[in-house]
């Protein structure tokens, strides 16, 4: 289809059938003034929307709350390190510490299941304070925790 170029003759004929837009009869300043008056409210709404959008952006921009912050890689190591340290401590104590003789004499046999209070005491003794402090810190460094736990 090639009939898409301007047809001056047809355009001229058509303009003779329809009146030319009377641009000279329009009061353009009055039209602008009327539009400015009618546009006041819609423009005010747009300004308010823009302000609200800006305020929302400020609220959403700051760092996420503490609980949602991504944990340092070292903190994931703590999950296995602490029980490992506790187990090592318990094992060391059980192997290295002489058991009290039974009341009736004879050879003491280590109990298969230590009492809860004894377990707690072992845990408290095996987890050094420095590890506790490292665990508490959000930015716990894996190396620092390991160093603290082995006392190096």
């Amino acid at each position: 289809m090639s009939d898409h170029s301007p047809d001056a003759a047809l355009a001229a004929a058509l303009r003779r059938t329809e009146p030319e837009p009377p641009l000279h009869e329009v009061d353009w300043d009055a039209m602008r003034a009327r539009l400015a008056a009618r546009a006041e409210l819609p423009l005010a709404r747009l300004r308010a929307d823009a302000r609200h959008a800006g305020a929302r952006a400020e609220v959403e921009a700051p760092a996420p709350p503490l609980a949602a912050r991504p944990r340092a890689g070292g903190s994931r190591a703590l999950r296995w390190l602490v029980p490992l340290a506790a187990a090592a401590g318990m094992g060391g104590l059980l192997l290295g510490r002489p058991l009290p003789p039974p009341p009736g004499g004879g050879t003491a046999v280590p109990s298969a299941q230590p009492a809860p209070a004894e377990v707690q005491a072992i845990l408290d003794a095996t987890i050094p304070d420095r590890v506790d402090v490292a665990i508490d810190r959000e930015e716990a460094d894996e190396e620092a925790v390991i160093s603290a736990s082995i006392g190096s």
Binding site: D3, A13, R16, T17, E18, P21, V26, M31, R38, A50
Partner: protein, 208 residues
């Protein structure tokens, strides 16, 4: 009679003549203006109105046929811009989007109102005639063409008005009407076939 359609303002639609740098700069200026309107800047809105109101009135008048109706349509269309500015995609050309609003509203208004004196041929369209016979022939040609235009489907008539009378390009018309360029060309072809048929009895299409 000299055609009096105003030339587009510097930020108006369509690629202005000149180097591409000027065209890009004008487009960038207009994009910044539209963005300021989106934020509720009254001065930017007034600048946009000033840039487009004459061409908008011209298109509106061709749709409505009456000055008052055309003015109303122009105002309603600019106010609709503010309502719909949140839907305007940054980076697009403003003119086709705006004229789409205007043309759609104009076509809807035409359907809902009773046409009054659109059919009349105003005095301003009459030309100085050398003889009564010539006068009658021209009037007959004019009437025939006018009747053919009125008989066209709305879409075809709109395409002809926008293309042949207002100077919009096929891509612009496609965007204004929300159709493909191929469809625009088809409507134009069909409309012209009808209109040229109306002119055929008078032989020479280049009217006196």
């Amino acid at each position: 009679m000299t055609r009096t359609v105003a030339a587009p303002a510097p930020v108006a639609s369509g690629p202005p003549a000149g180097p591409r740098g000027g065209e890009d700069a004008a487009a960038a200026d207009e994009a910044a203006l539209v963005e300021r309107v989106r934020l509720g800047d009254a001065a930017a809105f007034d600048a946009l109105v000033t840039a487009y109101m004459r061409r908008a009135f011209s298109v509106a008048y061709r749709l409505m046929g009456q000055r008052e109706d055309a003015e109303d349509l122009v105002q309603e269309s600019f106010l609709a811009v503010l309502e719909k500015i949140h839907t305007f995609q940054a980076g697009r050309a403003f003119a086709p989007w705006f004229f789409r609003i205007l043309v759609n509203r104009g076509l809807n208004a035409r359907k809902s109102r009773t046409l009054r004196s659109v059919d009349e041929i105003p005095e301003s369209a009459a030309s100085a005639l050398a003889s009564p016979e010539r006068d009658a022939e021209r009037a007959e040609l004019r009437d025939g063409l006018a009747a053919a235009m009125r008989a066209l489907p709305d879409r075809q008539a709109t395409v002809v008005r926008l293309f042949d009378m207002e100077g919009f390009s096929s891509p612009e018309i496609a965007e204004i009407l929300g159709i493909s360029e191929g469809t625009v060309r088809w409507h134009l072809h069909e409309a012209r076939k009808t209109l040229r048929g109306a002119l055929a009895p008078f032989g020479n299409r280049s009217t006196p």
